[in-house]
Amino acid sequence: MDILRFATAGSVDDGKSTLIGRLLFDSKAIFEDQLAAVERTSRDRGEEVTNLALLTDGLRAEREQGITIDVAYRYFATPRRKFIIADTPGHIQYTRNMVTGASTADLAIILVDARNGLTEQSRRHAFLATLLRVPHLVLAVNKMDLVGFDQQVYEQICDDFCGFAAKLEIGDLTFIPISALLGDNVVERSANMPWYDGPSLLHHLEHLHIASDRNLIDVRFPVQYVIRPHASSDPELHDYRGYAGQVAGGVLKPGDEVLHLPSGFTTRIHAIEMAGQPVSEAFSPMSVTLLLDDDVDISRGDLICRPNNRPSAAQDIEGMVCWMTADRPLTPGARLIVKHTTRTVKGRVTDLHYRIDVNTLHRDETATQLGLNEIGRARMRLTQPVFADPYSRNRLTGGMILIDEATNSTVGTLVITEAR
């Protein structure tokens, strides 16, 4: 059994909570006491139908205001897979939450109300999912029951979306007509839409091939922690020096020739250990410890790769920034702390090229700043190099978070398009 992480984008109006409620309910991930609590609260509030949104809206403020503020994580499993849902609010004021949920997702479900067709919101969700390079996208056309399960309505929405999607770099796109409320095409194929010959949503989630989404080509091993058993009574461990970290790309094997950055020194992998035991290979997302043939001065923030395939050691970074704070806008000249893989450096924003309208994709080149939830293309100059790849090549060596020096808050994120 493996894990599929997916993000759901959409608002209560699109039936997102109903869809999640149904997936959880049908996979027996909702328990009787949870359902009883939700039914009680719904009744107390005078709502006619049990409000499944109360299952995911865990904070007092969310329940009071009837809105989803933050990402909620939900879990369910079928015999084939374990699923982690990042349930993200759909409204524009929560763009940063969707960006957060999408950053680790293997798949994003964008919900569209069949009666309304594509809206600004659905276009924004598709744009954000592709910006964060979610490898698989599902456009779930919901509330098909309310349009008489009409094939024409569904196909018109699919056509509209394809027209818009042509402007985006979408890896894998699947359309599914559903009724979350009645269950059509959610778990079981619908008898009401014989014209649809694709899988149900759950079948798609269960069978989707995701193993190839990782980068297994470019060896990238950011050194996270150096293990040195100082006070060990075992004399064999006196010279032990293990480089611990989580593989960010490629496949590492004992005997491989590797290159250390920033020194450029080459050596070979002596052994790979997982929890003190030798393993024959390591790949993403394994957390392992590397032992090298030669004594090299290696510390946290360094990177191990192959001699003929290395990332840029870059101090000049171009990329798309999503700004996540209302405290102050992002402006050229802003100084920030940058965390990239296991390396933390400082940096300054040198240029803001444009702000993108997340609804229309229009680029406003006259923009002089980015406010909360705004996205734009910027350039940064860093005090020290980071070992980076374009985000399109590797999500782990291509993404960075931006931290405010004064407040220590995470105020933004940057996905790298170019690193020099």
Binding site: A37, T100, S103, Q246, S280, I401
Partner: protein
């Protein structure tokens, strides 16, 4: 030998948790791990052992002892800490009461559950801990489902759910000022079944009360509570013998048992997989106070 580059869900969760633990060890000066002797903290401690092998775990473990804990669990706690050679810090609620820092609740519903927060925060300040690992999981409770893996606490130990740091990829913001700290939850993405499956796979030892045993219990508010000197029982709450096990392990005054015949981890897994009630709903009186009981306690600095 793997050739398909596939990892099981337990391998992926383990790798993620180990990454989180190493990140803390690398970026904080004085981390500690909250260890109660319960199943989640047992898994967390096993992961810490794996993360730093062959070196020792590079931080102490801490337990907030309400004075009302199960003796079997305290024995287990002490033995496990000794085996690993880690320093065990015990913060005592009784000492907080004796020092006048908190006032003991009275009456039939009296519990030291909420008092723990003061003891915990005092200990964090006294020990100058800047990061604390907790075994909480997001599938446990709806407020926990909203919490970050690295969860910021201000100088008063408070959690502000509306102002959480965005968390992207595997990048965690560890910046704090002096007096503030971070609660770190390496098991965030684990479910109750994952924890049991891992205990089985790794052959981890757990306290005996997790397996079926006979015990004198009484029923209160639908929960089976153990006969113990810290609870005053009403006339309408007769004792009876039952074969039970514990699904969660906390304070004796608010942790309920479930009827069970499970003698092995495999049998426990079979029961857990079939149950239709959540672990906290079935066994925790402390969550029943109100719809937002957990959120309210967490805001104050609770685990």
């Amino acid at each position: 030998m793997r050739s398909d580059y596939l990892l099981s869900q337990l391998d992926v969760l383990e790798a993620e948790s180990i990454h989180i633990m190493r990140e803390v060890a690398a970026e904080f000066e004085r981390p500690a791990l909250l260890f109660s002797g319960g199943k989640d903290s047992i898994v967390m401690l096993a992961l810490a052992e794996k993360a730093f092998r062959p070196a020792n775990i590079p931080f102490p473990v801490m337990h907030v002892d309400t004075g009302h804990n199960f003796p079997e669990v305290l024995d287990f706690r002490d033995r496990r800490a000794a085996e690993l050679g880690v320093r065990l810090v015990v913060a005592s609620v009784q000492e907080s009461i004796d020092a006048g820092r908190v006032t003991e609740e009275t009456g039939r519903w009296a519990s030291r559950n909420r008092l723990q927060t003061v003891t915990l925060l005092d200990a964090i300040e006294e020990q100058r801990f800047d990061a604390l690992f907790g075994g909480a999981r997001r599938d446990e409770e709806k407020a926990r489902a909203k919490e970050r893996v690295f969860s910021f606490r201000d100088e008063f130990g408070q959690w502000d759910p509306k102002n959480q740091r965005p968390e992207l990829w595997n990048l965690y913001n560890t910046k704090i000022r002096r007096g503030e700290h971070i609660r770190v939850f390496p098991l965030s993405n684990w479910t109750e079944l994952d924890v049991w499956a891992y205990i089985e796979r790794e052959g981890l030892e757990i306290p005996s009360i997790y397996y079926a045993h006979e015990r004198q219990v009484f029923e209160r508010d639908g929960i089976l509570l153990a006969d113990n000197p810290y609870l005053s029982r009403g006339d309408d709450e007769p004792l009876f013998a039952a074969t039970v096990r514990y699904r969660t392990v906390g304070d004796m005054t608010c942790t309920g048992a479930v009827e069970s015949m499970a003698q092995t981890v495999q049998q426990v897994i079979t029961e857990v997989a079939a149950t239709r009630i959540t672990e906290r709903g079935q066994t925790r009186a402390d969550d029943r106070t109100s719809e937002a009981a957990m959120e309210d306690r967490k805001r104050e600095g609770y685990f």
